[in-house]
Symmetry: C2
Subunit: 122 residues, 2 copies
Amino acid sequence: MTDNDYTACHKREIMAVHDAMDVLSGKWKISIISSICYYNKRRFSDILNDVNGISNKMLSKELKELEMNLLIKRIVLDSQPVTVQYQLTEYGRSLQTIINSLTDWGLEHRRVIAGKPTEAVL
Amino acid sequence: MTDNDYTACHKREIMAVHDAMDVLSGKWKISIISSICYYNKRRFSDILNDVNGISNKMLSKELKELEMNLLIKRIVLDSQPVTVQYQLTEYGRSLQTIINSLTDWGLEHRRVIAGKPTEAVL
DNA sequence: CGGCATCCTTCTGGATACTG
DNA sequence: CAGTATCCAGAAGGATGCCG
């Protein structure tokens, strides 16, 4: 993008971003995907713990939506009591680039807004 | 990330993602940023037109939030009637990578869910 | 043109309790 | 453990009209 405003049409790109957000929007969805992505396999209660502030209701709901969108899969192990693993699908793994960009930016951003040291809540 | 689940702690990364989403979450915020980003400078009514389905109220509100977070700046030209340009700040431009990832993924995603041809609404 | 104010409906999401 | 069910407050967000 140059500084002079030549008027190409970018509606296609903007709509692509909107499409992506259709599936990813929600206060928690991206954090949930990150959790599953970073750990490869992750259980319900672990995600509940990873994602700061989420309630089990919301986690349950958003996991279901992500599953419907074929981004994650649910694997039930017949242990006692039952164990459920969540995992990214092949398709879901295509989000890795986005997750990485967001992670990088988030780490930088935390530094910029200051007073929010990374180590504090660890 | 390997297939065997060695248990490193990724809370730092997951929280970074959450931090990023703090600033970027909302049904429209990322689309708005994309619009401004792709056109470099963009006026209120143009963004209103770029972002499919947004109302002026929401646009106004989210622009204000983005400005508060120092991601965009508002430039008033004293024309008649008044013209307002929105532009990414230096800091805001650091989001470019994220926007690009989302655009790429969105274009791919549109292909995957099918029945939503890119050209239709152009 | 670029908003803000108001009204009103829908959706979000927390707290809590309960189930297999 | 991994959810589901219910209740309910508050936020999100659309429609419309007004203003400098």
